[in-house]
């Protein structure tokens, strides 16, 4: 029983981590007024680049760095078109997803030549003493990236609420014109929030291809980017909100996997709906009406 519980916890954390990382990046860009459905594409790109990087360098750390940097570069396409060319964010996001799917499949064939090589993934890092705790001990046997994600939560929350930088982001999202008048550069703020969210989505993708599993497989993000988008809205655009929202989804996934194995007689198609139904119920149960920043999705044209 204890073993089942702790494996359930571990599974929850593993499934929640990529959503958490990508969601934390979205805390910045979404609050600056960016609606980015291209997150799915960013994560896919990061997943491939992480694996490729680890394959080339033999080091998971370098793999992660390559994933972060290259996805950041990739996200510059999104930033350039939405900010400098005033293009609609949703349509650029859609284009990014199509592009990423094309680029990753093409590169996958070139880099790995149709094989699935063993690469070094994120090793689990055991924290002394804490790992011995009953049941929750397993939470302290995760990978570095996983801890990093959780540590980032209070950091991001602090930056957004207490620092000048965070307040600028909120101001830009709420009223770009007014922010511009008081001397905040709307363009620059949106640029760096997108790049940051690109970097974090790259890491989230890399966690999926190097932490959850240790290989890249075409189309492996399977909608987790859209889930990250749901997580940010469900979490009310705050870091701690994103944390519990991704945990809810993680619980849903972990529960589904275990119910599958129990052979309950419930058709698997119904079980696979579970995480989505749970999220749906959670969204409706949230009393505070979650509302995005006022300028969500609007390009800002300086006069």
């Amino acid at each position: 029983m204890i073993e089942t519980l702790s494996s359930f916890l571990s599974s929850t954390v593993r499934m929640a981590t990529p959503l958490l990382i990508a969601g934390l990046g979205l805390v910045f860009s979404a609050n600056a007024g960016i609606v980015n459905i291209g997150i799915e594409g960013f994560m896919l790109f990061g997943a491939l680049m992480g694996c490729a990087g680890s394959y080339w360098t033999g080091s998971a750390l370098f793999g992660a760095l390559i994933a972060i940097l290259s996805t950041m570069l990739f996200s510059a396409i999104f930033a350039y078109f939405t900010i400098n060319q005033y293009a609609d964010q949703t349509v650029v996001g859609a284009a990014i997803n199509i592009l990423a799917s094309g680029i990753t499949i093409t590169l996958n064939r070139l880099v790995f030549e149709g094989k699935v090589p063993a690469i070094s993934g994120f090793e689990s890092l055991h924290i002394p003493f804490l790992e011995k705790l009953p049941i929750i001990g397993i939470l302290f046997q995760q990978s570095l990236v996983c801890y990093l994600a959780f540590v980032l939560v209070p950091v991001v929350a602090y930056v957004m609420r207490k620092t000048h930088l965070g307040l600028q982001v909120l101001a830009v999202g709420e009223n770009p014109r007014a922010s511009d008048t008081v001397g905040i550069s709307v363009k620059w703020t949106r640029w760096w929030t997108i790049l940051l969210s690109g970097a974090l989505s790259g890491l989230a993708g890399a966690f999926m291809s190097m932490g959850q599993v240790r290989f890249f497989s075409e189309g492996m993000i399977s909608g987790k980017g859209y889930m990250a988008l749901a997580v940010i809205v469900l979490g009310g655009y705050t870091a701690f909100g994103v944390l519990w929202a991704s945990l809810i989804f993680g619980v849903g996934m972990a529960l589904q996997f275990r119910l599958q194995v129990l052979n309950t007689g419930i058709p698997y198609q119904i079980l696979t709906m579970l995480p989505y139904v749970i999220t749906l119920v959670a969204v409706c149960g949230v009393n505070s009406k979650t509302r995005g920043p006022a300028s969500s999705g609007e390009p800002y044209i300086k006069e």
């Binding site: 073993e3 089942t4 494996s7 599974s11 593993r14 499934m15 499949i105 996958n108 064939r109 149709g114 094989k115 699935v116 090589p117 063993a118 999926m208 959850q212 599993v213 240790r214 290989f215 497989s217 075409e218 189309g219 492996m220 399977s222 996934m253 972990a254 996997f257 275990r258 599958q260 194995v261 129990l262 052979n263 698997y268 198609q269 079980l271 696979t272």
Partner: protein
Amino acid sequence: MKKIILALLVMSMTASMVFAGGSSEKSSGATEAKPVRVACILSGPISDMSWNYTAHQGMLKIEAMGAEIAYQENVENSSLPDSINTYASDGYDLIFLSTNSYEEAALEIVKDYPDTQFVIINGQTSKDNVTSYGVADEDQGFMQGVVSAALTKTGKVGFVGAMEITPILNGRTGFIQGAKYIKPDVEVNAVMTGSFTDVAAAKETSVAMIQGGVDYIAPMCDNAALGVVEAAEDTGAHAVASGEGQNTIAPNAVVVAVIKDTSIVYLQAYKDYLAGKLVGNTSIQKLGVAEGVVYLSDWYKEAGAISDEAKATIENAYKALSSGEVKVQL
């Protein structure tokens, strides 16, 4: 909006101007011995290390025999007629359809191209210019079940499939019968994950299964199989892989792979075509263990030594299956 219309106009004008002249090039060179032109329409990507991968390997073997080949990946049922029309009207001699889900859509069109030979892999129809070849998915499942049951210490073995489609359902049936053939009291846990691509889901499901006591696990879910064998690697359990190359990511877990090499089916069909055997053929050949389509890889040593006794048990089951002494009851 006007602009897009204009762009379309321009595109179509360019199309008709530039490429109208292109068709005249083909008339030359008819005197030389023309290579046989073979096309293949695939339902998935050739990089799936499984069904479509071995199909592509088969096409390469056909190319090595001197044929001119072409293929198209990820063709959905809705665009199948379009694909068939394009290849057939372009004069391809032999067209492979890689899955039985194409069958019904294809049968309506093939009549329009009586001079083209069609081969449906796992199809149910052989008449006129259509010949079906079956692949014994159940043989693969059977051997996976045999290996798992012969080696299990906990008495529990697991099967992870992707979706409830015919090949995988047959594989599951084979797995259960193979396991029971070795140990009638073995406990079999068989699940479907609902996806061919969601590797993380396949992995987590497998982990849950292994924690439930399963110590030998077998995947049959294309791409997602990698998630299954990795789950075994991470938890110290063992896996019976469904294709070559899966052991590289799980060297300590994969004891052996039961390979279903459909490339042999493609090659066989091509040879039969060259020999003129496909014309007027109304039978459906099913290729499995006996024909060398399904076979065991070498034992992967990293995953630990296997007793000679267990090897002998597996070997005997393999022989019994290939000689027809035992058969999977579908």
